[in-house]
């Protein structure tokens, strides 16, 4: 991979830091009145998802990371690995470990496209679509006529996620959920 100098650090650039692939979030030049200039850089570690801060001397460089995002449909799990397939018509499949799947495990639904981040052709994270439609498999019975504001109750969805839903929702209904916040949006 190519090396990138601090002045090429743009949001989204993927670089290697301490052995892990990272994505640059922010890069700011800091310089005392006279003297050495520095770049104060925020990076997201793509293995852990954590954002950290690191300072570099201006002009220093980091090795680029062979990272790419691909769209893939979820197929199935064999209990050990989760299997996805590229949506580009190649039918190429990737097996994803539980560690890379992370929180997305609770938003899995067959045939839905997910964004898979590959590092050196190995899946390191899975991002669900922002909105997903899932069926309610368990919740307290709906309260008739209560379609206005009011309380909420927990509902378990087909993917295993538990979300707060309005009181009028019944088992078997399909709901639109925002996966970023885990909030109920509407009936699908």
């Amino acid at each position: 991979m190519a090396n990138y100098s601090t002045n090429e650090f743009k949001g989204g650039l993927k670089v290697m830091l301490d052995g892990d692939p990272c994505s640059i979030v922010e890069n700011e030049l800091v310089k005392p009145g006279k003297g050495q200039a520095f770049n104060r850089v925020k990076l997201r570690n793509l293995m852990t998802g954590r954002v950290g801060e690191k300072t570099f001397k201006s002009g220093d460089s980091l090795e680029g990371a062979d990272v790419m995002d691909l769209e893939m449909e979820y197929l199935y799990t064999d209990g050990d690995m989760w299997h996805f397939m590229k949506t580009d018509g190649s039918f190429e499949q990737y097996a994803v470990e539980k560690k890379a799947l992370g929180d997305t495990e609770k938003w899995l639904k067959e045939q839905v496209p997910y964004t898979i981040t590959l590092w050196n052709d190995k899946a390191i994270s899975v991002t669900p679509p922002n909105f997903i439609e899932l069926e309610v498999v368990e919740t307290d019975p709906g309260l008739k006529g209560d379609t206005a504001q009011g309380g909420s109750k927990p509902a378990t969805l087909s993917s295993g996620a538990v979300v707060r839903v309005p009181l009028f929702i019944n088992q078997g209904e399909v709901l639109k959920i925002d996966t970023r916040s885990g909030d109920y949006v509407s009936r699908a």
């Binding site: 310089k31 005392p32 009145g33 006279k34 050495q36 801060e53 300072t55 001397k57």
Partner: protein, 326 residues
Amino acid sequence: MRANWQPTATIETLYERARLIAIVRAFFAQRGVLEVETPVLGHGGSTDVHLASLSTLARTDKGQRKLWLQTSPEFHMKRLLAAGSGPIFQLAKSFRNGEVGARHNIEFTMLEWYRPAFTLAQLIDETTTLVANVLPSFAGPVVHYRYRELFHTYLAVDPFTTSLETLRTLAAERGHMSAQTLAKEGRDTCLDLLMSMVIEPQLGQQELSVVLDYPASQAALARRHQDADGEWVASRFELYLNGVELANGYDELIDAEEQRQRFEEDNAERRRLGLPEVDVDERLLAALERGMPESAGVALGIDRLIQLAMGKARLEDVLAFSTPNC
């Protein structure tokens, strides 16, 4: 797709910018300081290891010549002082390659002025008065700090006597820099990092902070003297407001021999670091040999002052067109 042709500042901001610059001009006119205009190009450039100069090839009467774009108007203005100009000021376009950010733009405007026979204390007084004139809402006090005292207060170390090992460890921890990188760096890089990352953001909060007595190794074009503790320090000051460095002033070095030596040391350091060497300004050295009056001089980033006066988030908000948009 049509290119983005729009200015980075609003037209309203440009009106305010013009009004503030008129205040600056009136301030100097009232004090009998002559406004001058000097060339942006020079046969010599700034050798400062931490400044990256732009240069260009020009066809001159002597054939093709490499000319340097100034990083500040200092050299030409000092030649005017040597020629007997008396007190002078200039609003000068200056260029520093690679400096892009919320407080930096490759091309920017420097307000620089020189006061023959002024002490550094008199110049500090004049600089803070000017800033207060441009920022009428600013009523805070002017507070002086010694560089050493700031390191004691914020980091509990001494910039002159604490071991390099300790400074490196502290710089790695507080400056978020890798210990391996710092293992190859000297005191000044550690001090610069701690100053920029830890101390500067604390300065100029509800006050104008003046920092004095920088280490002698950070003198640039200022004289050096021994401070009250017997340490060799640079005769220079910096001014901070809202954590932003606004101005940098010197009791100017006027010794031609010492100036030549500093230029040569800079270029030797450039060779060591694999940086391009910069042509030494022989005309400046000739002027110093002829004799420049004892003077205090200061450079103030006028774009930053306008940015602070208007409460803008980014420098480009007060520039008609920032470098990426030029």
